[in-house]
């Protein structure tokens, strides 16, 4: 029996989809069977981030509407053994799926997968309610900005009201140099304010943009810092104690070196 985890944030553009894709791929690399569900109906994204956009035949509304079986709609990622995607519908709106249908879908998926990870849409309305309906655990993604942390706080309150207790926090796009200069809130500042457990921290990394352009999750890039950060988080989800990585990006030469060995 698997675990159903929703990745949410309130604010858009903070890294929910990137996180869902990379944790899914990361857990699959570690030998787990993972189903990713794109719950952002009307704004399908996860397929593109994963590079699976050309393989979609059916989507989530085809399953809930009874037009196909769940198995038929699941796209198998050939690069990652055990990774599957259930795509969102692009031409429907958020009311095309109900919370009850979502619950039933998650219950069916977790029979077969170790992890079911749901990519939540931005906002706190129907799409959010659908996305969390079948979840047992929640990951809240934020960035070190006032608006993002504020929305994260709101979402944490809503998750708790929906009995999704103890959500775990991921802080994305942190820039160590700005933190050191006193121009960006630090990990401690944010954890202090939100008062939830920290699951991990991902540095700002242009490799994320490059890998997303290619449709290849950064988690498989041995040399990138964000890839390392995602692998660490995947291991923590599996119950390992992994210390936070040292975020100091080093000097110019160290960065140059990393670029070179990356090729």
């Amino acid at each position: 029996m698997g675990e159903v985890i929703v990745v949410t944030s309130g604010k858009g553009g903070v890294g929910k989809t990137t996180t869902t894709a990379n944790l899914g791929a990361g857990l699959a690399l570690m030998g787990r069977r993972v189903a990713l569900v794109d719950a952002d109906i009307g704004l399908r994204n996860l397929d593109v981030v994963l590079g699976l956009e050309n393989r979609i035949v059916y989507d989530i509304t085809d399953v809930t509407g009874g037009h196909c079986r769940l198995r038929q709609a699941l796209i198998k990622d050939k690069r990652f053994e055990g990774l599957f995607l259930l795509p969102a519908a692009q031409t429907k709106d958020k009311t095309a799926v109900s919370p009850e249908q979502m619950k039933a879908l998650c219950a069916e998926l977790k029979e077969e997968f170790d992890f079911v990870i749901i990519d939540c849409p931005a906002g706190i309305e129907q799409g959010f309610k659908n996305a969390i309906a079948g979840a047992e655990k929640a990951i809240v993604v934020t960035t070190p900005e006032v608006a993002a942390v504020r929305d994260a706080d709101r979402v944490i309150g809503l998750l708790e009201a929906a009995e999704l207790r103890d959500p775990k926090l991921i802080i994305n796009r942190i820039r160590p140099r700005m933190v050191r200069a006193g121009d960006m809130m630090s990990i401690e500042d944010i954890v202090d304010i939100l008062a939830v457990d920290l699951l991990g921290v991902i540095p700002e990394d242009e490799m994320v943009v490059i890998s997303t352009n290619r449709g290849e999750p950064i988690v498989q890039d041995e040399h990138s810092r964000s890839g390392q950060a995602y692998r660490n988080i995947a291991r923590r989800i599996l119950g390992e104690q992994v210390p936070l990585m040292n975020l100091d990006e080093g000097g110019f030469l160290a960065r140059l070196w990393r670029r070179m060995i990356r090729g």
Binding site: V149, R150, A181, G182, D183, M185, S186, I193
Partner: protein, 95 residues
């Protein structure tokens, strides 16, 4: 040194994170306070209990609100007193 370089390059000399934290703190006081009328009701009930030890108050006319401006949020309570209790009944006084 870094400060100096930053200044030479015309960059802001850091510290905007403190501004961010303060703004976030204020905005969250508002957000968290506005989320639950239940909390205000619970506070009202507790207040009545405590104040009744000292004076008779008009519970029906009592008003408890959170008043906010840009700078701060204040708890404002308007509690009409019907009558004071005798000083000898004040719990803190021992003869």
């Amino acid at each position: 040194m870094l400060d100096f370089i930053n200044r030479v390059l015309g960059r802001e000399s850091g510290g905007s994170k403190e501004i961010a934290k303060e703004r976030l703190r204020l905005v969250l006081v508002h957000d968290r306070a506005s989320v639950s009328p239940q909390l205000l009701q619970a506070l009202k009930t507790d207040l009545i209990q405590v104040i009744s030890k000292y004076m008779d108050i008009d519970e029906k006319a009592m008003e408890v609100t959170l008043d906010s401006n840009e700078r701060q949020v204040a708890l404002v309570a308007s509690i009409p007193v019907k009558s004071m209790k005798r000083a000898t009944r004040t719990p803190a006084v021992s003869i």
